[in-house]
Symmetry: C2
Subunit: 368 residues, 2 copies
């Protein structure tokens, strides 16, 4: 194998694929970067057997071939190369790198030992704009459960419906996040669960423009292509919670409140609440005012926000973090908080439309 | 006590004094911020008994008084206040804070329990420009020893000489850093050792302009004032190493080399060298070329830099980190590396003048 690539393009390609490279693996070859040089192209990939990211860049290929490079060392080294391009050449069990006056030799592993990931059969597919998918991920993924005893909740459930909608849901037993958007060229109905880490990496490589991308699913995997980059990941195996049955529909209190003000107040109250290690903040919706209070042995805080309330006054308490997590991902100016009483969930929805739906369980108030 | 301050000024003042506030202390009151309101001024201070930082800001004081506030909570909370000003008012054992619609109450500790630091008697003083002192700290402090069994080497030695020079020296047994500058209005000769942490905090509050500041010393402490901020710190107690006797004077090899190129090469070589956990890189000064090599079980790297050599060729090895640390703090384009053989120290000096002097012990080459 012998090829030459542009240093900057090589660095960008490595930083893309290295997202899937585990820092430590029981299979040491996975700590490497697989490369294949052929037909004026250098192909690169990394995988942890659950997630695989591949990309390719132009190359002047004098002799085809493949190898697995020591991942972290190779990435760190090439990032510090100052020459405009790099020539790679195999020499027995090592790969020689030349860039300007720098010559390096890296121990390589034969490429045929690198585990192959399954080919993803196109059993189902749908199209969505990159910016919308990015926003849907951001607005749901924080509610994924980190409890390893419930692996199925460690992913986001994507439901493609008959009426061309994509519904994304994450829940952890204390809260639920749901986002809905129209999709296009959807080949039917489907429900899949995508692991948290895969969604974070998808979000990283998605751009913020409206260009469409195609999500392709087999019964076990998802595949998507953005430009020259392809991401393949396992889906989580199992039945997702039937969340529809737990979504409250009718409310006796309906409040519109500013997202920015609620975020600032919850942030300040959380500082006090976390001193008592409970994170509990108390909301008193009273007429046109929301009073937010938190106490700890170090002191107390009282805050007020003007609201619009329809229905009856209500006192309710939450883990401040759950309220904050929702406020941080919303772009709207104001929202509706819908409630019934201090022991049933609060539901947060847009003032117009049905793009998102957040449900947060309250903390029980003992003195009320 | 009752006073009102500007929110922004209060946040800036807290961030200045909190640098001296320990995160955890066996004396819990030190985890607080001492405040004293009087004469249209709010005075703030924090101390860990070794280092104390004080400052003051304008305040509308309706009732004088003092208190110790819970440090971290208070700092975090006030940083998130959005009102333009804050009113503080004592109420028994607590302090009420009001800013816009936010009302908070913080448990306080009586201020008379806060330990007093000694008054620093003006036994010796000298003047130096802020930017020069900042540069002297940066160019020496990295060589301080982190070995707790040698506490005296955990500080930088400042020597004020009869001929109005300040010599700063740090050494750790493997390397030495020395910086020399002219000073003004110096009241005599003096040698003191300032702790690492104190110098880092002094550097943080120094500006990059040429305004002079006055360093004041008692036999046990240093004091300096920058604007409204005053810093007081203990000096390290004991005799510093007599480093003059170990500085080599004559050299058989004298090399001028580019700082930028040496930095880049050492950085790349260190990546390879650290894989073998030795950090050892080999320098081969040969005619007008410096060959830098490093090896590990994962591979090797060879680099070349054009040099100007006077004297005999030499092969020598260093801990790459020690070379890099020096290259990172220098602003010159090129330097002299002066050597005798592979087992005696290398000395790095400017191509003109005597502002700095770095000495680095080589690593022994077994195969040469």
């Amino acid at each position: 194998m012998r090829f030459t690539v542009d240093t900057k393009e090589m660095n960008e390609a490595i930083s893309v694929v290295a997202k899937a490279m585990p820092a430590h693996s029981s299979l040491p070859i996975l700590e490497g970067i697989y490369i294949y040089a052929g037909a004026n192209t250098l192909f690169l990939k990394c995988s942890d057997l659950s997630l695989q990211i591949e990309t390719e860049i132009p190359a002047i290929v004098d002799e085809e071939g493949s190898a697995v490079l020591p991942g972290k060392l190779c990435a760190d080294l090439i990032r510090r190369f100052t020459g405009p391009n790099i020539t790679f050449e195999t020499d027995n069990n090592s790969l020689k790198l030349c860039s300007g006056r720098v010559k390096s030799s890296l121990q390589i592993i034969p490429a045929d030992e690198y585990p192959e990931m399954v080919r993803v059969k196109d059993e189902f597919s749908a199209e969505i704009s990159q910016s919308i998918l990015k926003s849907m991920i951001k607005q749901t993924v924080f509610s994924v459960s980190m409890d390893e005893s419930k692996p199925i909740l460690g992913g986001v459930c994507l439901k493609f419906t008959e009426d061309k909608q994509l519904i994304m849901v994450a829940l952890d037993g204390f809260r639920l996040a749901m986002r809905t958007e129209k999709i296009e060229n959807c080949t039917g109905e489907k429900q899949v669960i995508i692991p948290y880490r895969t969604l974070m990496e998808i979000s990283n490589i998605l751009s913020s423009d409206d260009e469409k991308i195609r999500l392709v699913f087999s019964s076990t995997h998802i595949k998507l292509e953005i430009g020259m980059t392809r991401l393949i990941s396992r889906l989580l195996d199992g039945e997702y919670v039937n969340y529809n049955s737990i979504l409250p529909k009718n409310f006796t209190t309906k409040v519109s409140v500013s997202v920015e003000e609620l975020k600032n107040s919850a942030e300040r109250a959380l500082l006090m609440a976390r001193e008592s290690k409970s994170n509990m903040i108390r909301f008193n919706f009273e007429g046109d005012m929301l009073h937010i209070t938190a106490n700890s042995e170090k002191g107390s805080i009282n805050d007020e926000i003007e609201i619009n309330l329809v229905g009856k006054d209500i006192e309710i308490a939450f883990n401040a973090k759950y309220i904050l997590d929702v406020m941080k991902v919303l772009e709207d100016e104001s929202i509706f908080m819908n409630m019934n009483n201090s022991v049933t969930p609060c539901v947060i929805v847009p003032t117009e439309g049905e793009r998102y739906y957040y449900m947060i369980l309250p903390v029980r108030l003992f003195n009320s």
